[in-house]
């Protein structure tokens, strides 16, 4: 409560915050509103939109017109959305499986070396994601780094066909967003009081129980934050699905990108984006509620 503040002071405080409101407004709210509005307009076949209101874009997600011009249910896009969730979930799980041990390992290092390792984790961000994803084509592809030696030594006889599969997409997504899993988990592990681990083992917990009963519950906020930071961009990703999935196996992100870049159906792209946005918001609401319950449970003294 700021009742005690004189009115003028409260006014000045608002003035001080104005630049940040302005930035948030210009860079976040306005584009989102534009997207929302576009999703309710008709497409212009030459790009852009026609200023005519329509629900067609949303209808198109679920239905299509058959040959007799009847509106029938079309599972095509729903399937893509479902696949996107599946792949994003898989990639998030992989990131967690690989990221947690990395974060844990870094936490166990002497303090002066930890920052160096964190710095190493961020190195992939220095080059363009597109280029890094191309690298995976060289690794996974026919005649690539993995296949060539295996073929040469006769361990395998024909190509493994690793490219253009869901597995390849999941690997690409995992690779792209792994640092986003490592960093928040590290941040919460770093605050962990390692004497608690001693206390647990003193109280007859074996190594596995020390992990499951003490370490993981205590760095849950970091794990959840990491999962969100990976899951959400995975849903909207289009580089890895396009390059490693060959563009045939679409994900939500590539579908949206396709609507704006090639299909020239901006309203449909916007509608899909709005759907993606609402999915993310729903996930975040669950997270916020879980965090609130947790805070209420542990109390705040």
């Amino acid at each position: 409560m700021s009742d005690w503040l004189p009115k003028s002071a409260a006014g000045k405080r608002w003035l001080g915050l104005a630049p940040s409101y302005f930035v948030i407004g210009i860079f976040m709210l306005v584009p989102m509103i534009i997207m929302g509005v576009f999703s309710f307009l008709e497409p212009n076949p030459y790009g852009g939109v026609k200023p005519v209101g329509s629900f067609a874009a949303y209808v198109k997600i679920f239905f299509e017109y058959d040959l007799e011009d009847q509106l029938v249910f079309n599972p095509g896009y729903i399937n893509i959305i479902f696949r996107s969730f599946q792949l994003s979930f898989g990639a998030t799980l992989l990131c967690l499986v690989f990221g947690f041990p990395v974060a844990y390992y870094i936490t166990l290092q002497p303090e002066n070396r930890r920052n160096f390792y964190i710095y190493l984790v961020t190195i992939p961000f220095w080059t363009n994601l597109l280029i890094r994803t191309f690298a995976w084509i060289i690794i996974l592809g026919r005649g690539g780094v993995i296949e060539t030696p295996l073929l040469a030594t006769g361990i395998i006889e024909k190509s493994l066909r690793m490219m253009y599969t869901d597995g390849a997409i999941a690997i690409g997504l995992t690779y792209s967003y792994l640092p986003l899993m490592v960093l928040p988990i590290y941040a919460s592990l770093e605050k962990l009081d390692f004497r608690l681990l001693e206390a647990a083992s003193d109280l007859y917990a074996n190594r596995f129980e020390v992990m499951t009963k003490v370490v993981i519950p205590l760095c849950k906020p970091g794990i959840i934050a990491g999962c969100l930071l990976v899951f959400i961009p995975c849903l909207g990703a289009f580089i890895a699905p396009n390059l490693l999935g060959g563009g045939k196996k679409l994900m939500l992100g590539s579908l949206v990108q396709f609507q704006f870049a090639s299909a020239r159906n901006w309203p449909f792209g916007a509608a899909l984006s709005m759907l993606l946005l609402s999915a993310v918001v729903i996930v975040l609401i669950f997270y916020a509620r879980a965090a609130k319950n947790r805070a209420a449970m542990e109390g705040s003294a």
């Binding site: 004497r195 007859y204 542990e298």
Partner: protein, 365 residues
């Protein structure tokens, strides 16, 4: 009596392969009896906490053996040793309630649910924390957390309870109250307590026996009065309580007393302790409370020595006087304030200083 813990020639070296190995414990041997309140006492860095951590299993020994009721335990993981620890900063699990914290050890031991519930209730009652069983540690005061830590370590009925300076984070009043309670708890439970502290008062008040440590070695093991009245060396005498030291030379023997020359010509008789011969350089030690100060005109006996008040430190229930004895000798002595609250002597007053030759002891230098 069976021994609860038998530490045999334990050596602990940190960073043994680096160019700066640190020897934390050097060939330490000691035996802790069953059902004993045993204290490891020493200044920080003396190795007392290291020894406790070796017994608990948080560190690996560099050499030697640790026996727990005749079982060799030094190579076991901490979770395989039937000992529990009360940590200096409690180390309670912040994501669990008090009851869950206390139940943790029992759950790991796969005790049946009913037994766990009954034990949790019993130990929480024992430490007077039952009414707060559903709280989380961050909703408790330091003293309450301390009790929970105790309950948590006692719940699995360890063969030995290890306490790592558990009272150091509490304020003075609470610390004193907890001393009594800990001692009481030890008697009630019959569990062997190994208590680590740097606070000599705490050690004297609670322990059955004390091991005084310094520089990774045990200096002396004995009961509180032994340690206080008969320290084996200057370190122990200095570390426990306030002490006057006088360095000098043995010049003669008189029955079981020795005569020492301190300074240039002052002669003191002292109780002999150990084999000394004429010409040995020794240290005499004398506890301040063994010295009686009186005004010169009240002095009755002939065996008083003259002195002069050189400094006064007022401590409330008493005052510490620095007495100039001449010949470069200064002694610390105590006197109580008079009934009207005034101190009996003031700066520069001449004094009659009295102490028995039996109160003076010889320490080897």
């Amino acid at each position: 009596m069976t021994s609860a813990i038998d530490v045999r020639d334990i050596t602990k070296i940190y960073n043994p392969n680096s160019n700066q190995p640190v020897k934390a414990l050097d060939n330490v041997s000691l035996t802790i009896d069953d059902n004993e309140f045993f204290t490891l006492l020493g200044p920080s860095g003396c190795g007392k906490t290291t020894l406790l951590r070796l017994i608990a299993g948080f560190e690996a020994v560099s050499g030697g053996e640790i026996m727990l009721f005749d079982d060799e335990i030094e190579n076991l993981e901490p979770n395989r040793r039937p000992v529990n620890t009360v940590f200096q900063h409690y180390a309670l699990f912040p994501h669990m309630t008090v009851a869950a914290n206390v139940a943790f050890g029992l759950e790991r031991l796969k005790k049946p649910r009913e037994e766990i519930e009954a034990t949790v209730e019993r130990v929480l009652t024992l430490v007077k924390m039952k009414h707060l069983a559903d709280r989380h540690p961050n909703q408790l005061s330091g003293g309450q957390q301390q009790r929970v830590a105790l309950a948590r370590a006692l719940a699995p009925s360890p063969k030995v309870l290890l306490l790592d300076e558990p009272l150091s984070a509490l304020d003075l009043k609470l610390r004193q109250a907890m001393r009594e309670e800990l001692k009481q708890l030890q008697k009630e439970t019959g569990i062997t307590f190994v208590f680590v502290t740097h606070d000599q008062e705490e050690a004297l008040a609670m322990s059955d026996r004390i091991a005084v440590m310094s520089d990774g070695e045990v200096q002396q093991i004995g009961g509180p009065t032994d340690i206080y009245e008969h320290p084996v060396n200057r370190f122990v005498a200095d570390f426990i309580g306030d002490t006057n030291f006088m360095d000098g030379e043995i010049v003669g023997f008189n029955d079981d007393l020795v005569t020492c020359r301190i300074g240039t010509q002052s002669m003191f008789e002292a109780e002999n302790s150990g084999a000394h011969k004429i010409g040995d350089q020794v240290t005499l030690f004398l506890r301040p409370e063994k010295i009686t100060l009186s005004a010169v005109d009240d002095a009755s006996a002939a065996d008083t020595r003259p002195g002069k008040v050189a400094n006064i430190v007022y401590l409330g229930n008493q005052a510490a006087y620095t007495v100039d004895m001449g010949d470069g000798i200064e002694l610390i002595a105590q006197a109580r304030p008079r009934e009207d609250g005034k101190l009996p002597f003031t700066l520069g007053d001449p004094l009659a200083v009295e102490f028995s030759a039996r109160a003076l002891r010889v320490l080897a230098q």
